[in-house]
Amino acid sequence: MSTYDAIGDEARRPFSGRRARLGDLSLQTVAGLAAAGAVSVLGLIAYKVVQGSRLSLSTFGLGFVRGIGWDPVHNHFGAASFLFGTAVTSIGALLLATPLALGIALFLTELAPRWIRGPVTALVETLAAIPSVVIGLWGIIVLGPVLREHVMPALHSTLGFIPLFGTPSPAGTGIFTAIVVLTIMILPIVSSISRELFLGVPTELKEAALGLGATRWEMVRGVVFPYARGGVAAAMILGLGRAVGEAIAVAQVIGGVDNLIGWNLFNGGNSLAAKIALDYQGATSQLEVSSLFYLALILLVFSLVVNLVAQVVVRRVARRQGLVAR
């Protein structure tokens, strides 16, 4: 018998054998179960939301999406005015936020002196950390009156021939206030993703453009924007998703006016998410509760589509650039 054999199996390979295999297996099982759980939460969300909206689905069918009335008294419900409010507020916010965000991203990557880049980046990203209920509180009490006293009358008197800028509402709340609040909320999302995309543009390309005599703006338009186009689109999609899903801040400032579809941005309105938030205690009939679930179902489907599309775009851009995005 050699010395090697004399050493017990345990001593020779202290971690081998059944105990190690058991340990590996149990960690793998527990971790695998956690992952399976995380994945199934998404399925469970979809299942529960569909289940909750079944009554409304069978009563109104797809016509729910086109129906304008939300009428608890006659037990008739339709989502059209909320879809309209959601579309107007989030698209308006995206239109305002995108150029501003691209400007901030350009400032941070091309123009700003190096020593202020870090702090300004951190500050803009801090904006994303402010809770929506605080932005909403600020929106009602500070922003609303300013818009009502100054911005809305000014827009109405100069651009009043466009139906969007009709008679200002006596309250500071409404679609327009919601657009401004949402703009503030999606600005940091779009700008921080764009900033990272702009940073990823190869320096050689930029220097080549400058070397050919392009001005800095021509370099940005000819090199930076085309290079980052796909990613900026994804950033906009993610910003849109955030704006559509925002319930609290919008609920605080949009005025909560149901069943109104009109072009005047200064009117009150309501959005899908805000309607759900505002009715959290007020739903009386089963059909109304089920219709709120139906609104949530529309939001869920939209958010799934938005995120899948954004992910596909991001992955394609990342593969093309040979770098890992985000």
């Binding site: 590996d24 971790a31 501003l100 904006l127 899903g245 959290y280 995120n307």
Partner: protein
């Protein structure tokens, strides 16, 4: 310096002047955009500070709200602070271990296809609006069992899970492969390599992710509206009952016609904002520190 002879193309002309003017205008616009971004943050933080600071006193944390108060009654939001503490603590206790385990599975055990699928699911879950999560938990727990702090914590945990898991996946991927190989090469089994070598290496990043996730959900209102909002004014610590929380209190007070209520809403908002800013900043600091440490290990 004498002027160098310029060719006609190099000489300043209208076209060049116009191109330069456009360039200048665009630069000014970009500077303005940067300034606006900072100004928005400044205005919001300043409003909250100005209106909240005067109301900040010990009563806010120690006294419960008094309903239908006439005149200046000493009242606070103690019930909201207590409830937020319980709900967010419970949510963290639920989401943190699961999130870390998901990340361990994705990083150490999952085949590539599964890894991508779980990653995509986490991203999609992260994109589900908070109000939909609220409706989901309402249908899952509240419809049958009524509101409770536990239901609220579960809703927040669903929001936290993708944040914690994503952050942990990213930091686990930063651990140098050589460390793993060295451990496995010494005959240490996989589970001990993971729990004893890889997790301790990345603990800084995991804590950062957890702190950011806590900061994010501490301000969430929507998930709590449906799960833990129908409450009295007494201070409660038992998550089996519905508990008030800071964001829900701000939401309700902001809607009130009474200026005294607004004042308390601003004070609560200031506390919430301070908490979130301090948490995010310290998380950022932790992140740079742990990255530096990992960088050293890689060398």
């Amino acid at each position: 310096m004498s002027a160098v002879e310029l060719s006609p193309l190099q000489r300043p002309n209208d076209r060049l002047r116009r191109r330069r003017a456009v360039n200048r205008a665009m630069e000014v616009l970009a500077w303005a955009a940067g300034a606006i971004g900072i100004a928005i943050l400044g205005v919001v933080v300043w409003s909250v500070t100005k209106r909240g600071a005067g109301q900040l006193n010990l009563d806010l944390f120690t006294k419960a709200p008094v309903p239908f108060a006439i005149g200046h009654v000493k009242q606070g939001l103690a019930n909201a602070f207590a409830g937020s503490l319980v709900i967010v603590g419970l949510a963290t206790a639920m989401a943190l271990p699961v999130g870390i385990l998901v990340a361990i599975y994705v990083n150490e055990f999952a085949p590539r296809a599964v890894r991508n699928a779980v990653g995509l699911t986490l991203d999609v879950l992260n994109g589900v609006p908070a109000i939909v999560i609220a409706i989901f938990v309402f249908g899952l727990l509240v419809a049958a069992h009524g509101q409770s702090g536990f239901a609220g914590a579960f809703a927040l945990a669903v929001l936290m899970l993708p944040l914690v898991a994503r952050a942990t996946i990213e930091v686990l991927a930063l651990v140098p492969g050589t460390l793993r190989e060295a451990s496995l090469g010494l005959g240490v089994p996989r589970w001990r390599t993971t729990l004893g070598i890889i997790l301790p290496q990345s603990i800084g990043g995991i804590v950062t992710g957890a702190v950011l996730a806590v900061a994010r959900v501490a301000g969430e209102t929507a998930p709590l509206l449906f799960t833990s909002s129908i409450v009295g004014n007494s201070v409660g610590w038992n998550p089996a009952h519905a508990l008030q929380s800071v964001p829900v209190a701000i939401f309700e007070l902001s809607d009130s016609p009474n200026p005294d209520d607004h004042a308390r809403a601003w004070a609560a908002a200031l506390v919430l904002l301070l908490f979130i800013l301090v948490a995010s900043l310290s998380a950022r600091w932790l992140a740079t520190r742990s990255r530096r440490k990992l960088g050293r290990a890689a060398r």
